[in-house]
Amino acid sequence: MQTIHLQWIDYTILVAYVAFVLGIGWTLARYMKTSSDFLTSARSIPTWVTGLAFISANLGALELVGMAASGAKYGIATAHFYWVGAIPAMIFLAVFMMPFYYGSKARSVPEYLKMRFDERVRALNSVAFAVMTIFASGVSMNALAKLLNQLLGWNYNAALWICSGVVLLYVLKGGLTSAIYTEVLQFFMIVLGFAPVVYLGLKDVGGWHTMNTSLQGVAVATSTNYAANAWTSTWQPLLAGPAHNPMGVDWFAIVFGLGFVLSFGYWCTNFLVVQRAMAAKNMTAARNTPLVAAVPKMVFPFLVIVPGMIAVALTANPGKDYRIPPPVIAQANYDQAVAVVKTATPADNAATVAAVDKALGKDVNPDKIAALVTANTTAKLADADIEKGIYFSVKDNDYDGVILSLVKKYCPPGLLGLALTALLASFMSGMAGNVTAFNTVWTYDLYQAYFAPGKSDSHYFWAGKVTTIAGIVLSIAAAYFASMYNNAMDIIQLVFGFVNAPLFATFLLGMFWKRTTGTGAFLGLFGGIAGSTLFHAVTIAQGNLPGVKGGYIKVLETFPSEMAQNFWLAAFAFTVCFTLTLVISLATKSMKTDAELRGLVYSLTPKTVDHNLSFWQRPAVLGTVLLIICVILNFIFF
């Protein structure tokens, strides 16, 4: 029931992809001569490449798997993570922030913070970022190895080490350039690998309109609070209030918490994505990088969210023989449950249900088990049919399994290899992105700044290579850590939230208010992190128990959903950081002169002149056009 058996054609596609990825690394190795070549691509890459790498570095498999899961749980409203929670921030980064990042000649985001504020702010940001990238990389690799283990029966350790080894080889050979170039290849692999699954899924449910009709039926059947458009509209269910949409959030939390604080905090300050734009060959290319990335980002909901909606529509049609997959259950447990059903009689149904529950370790639907036992008593069923009946009777849903269940349902050998290679590509691009960002920040912002200043360039070049190996090894260690503790993911994401939520306030004030001081920024950031930790300690989401999900000091506020709690936490942390930075800056003396801040602060920097570009090539014009398209998309799916 669980594992897939690949054929030679599937393995051939997988091997071809790995060979080309390694080939890119080997080809670029001869161009790696300085630390700048290895760690920053010597600022030499054209826009379309950095733009696609920008989006691909963000398109890890957690996004592919997670967004399909969210599409099933929340419907088209998941597109808020794109049309509200990404595009406006990417345009802001391109038009207003890239001139400072690129023009300051900083080699990393923490280095910009050092130039704008002081060493304390750089140290805080670079240490937090280095730790977070390692954990993000490890969590992603753990998810991949688990997936390959459950789906293909591959050994967990072998899958983890081999996939990490491939990433290590091509990053070690070609540095950031190799990561960026392979991210472009991975981008096309992901799009072309998953597009046929979406096409076949839509064909199966009868097209877009038929799918929406099915989803309207599901919405009404799920809750009396939901209007028929709960899964098919982005804004109307939100405006009706948290109780009337499956996300359990209100419009303000989406607009301010997600659309402003979290979105701008990620897209405008996270070195993982900003690094791609900083590798561009000139200022115009750097500014256009996020705009090029915004085009595919705008249409990605149709590639990654629609599969989740297809899955829900399929469950509404019993003739399609599909359910949202249950949590992964070992084959041995299914075999035990089959043995129980085979010997059961309709008279002892309660005992049968209890025995099947025990065999699977999951609750099953008593009515479905009763029907299965009756059917087996009437006419002896084959083991495979009994197993299928048990599979359909498990109560719990594992939404993260949605995308793979559709791949299994629709992809014959060949296309299956392509889709699985696309999944592998998304994991690798995520890991390579994290490792290259880690080795730049570690080498330049920690090693060169504090441990070995004033060494030769070749020393830092080799330090970068050693850091790449260390980054991969630490990622593998983080993967084992994530695999050992069931709630490791929750804890890691929680810490990310505490550190990331206030960060944009520091950048916003630093870039657009010259009076912001290093002390204000440093204490404001700490205050923001403390504020978000305290907020989490006194709030909880409905249905959760006090603990890692919050409320461990006292429950002062209960939110309708975890998502609402996270969005409000971000809004609170931002406000605390912004206010503290503002007040402390006014109370302290700036250590930087206007001359030192030129190129780092908006009011002291000559405006970037785009007169040499034709009208339609100017970032401000392109950004405006993209913003208008984004608004139109929001209205189409209102």
Binding site: Y181, L192, P413
Partner: protein
Amino acid sequence: MGLDIRWPIGLMFTLIGVLLAAFDININQIWGIVLLIFGVFMLLGAISGK
């Protein structure tokens, strides 16, 4: 930096497209041809880019 990325992308998708096409709708054949066209398009871009 010394490598036009359209070469490996074009070569890889041309190869996979040919493989898939050679191997109620015959999705492998159809999608193999789509990948082949995409791969050739990339290779033509790389050749003209020279």
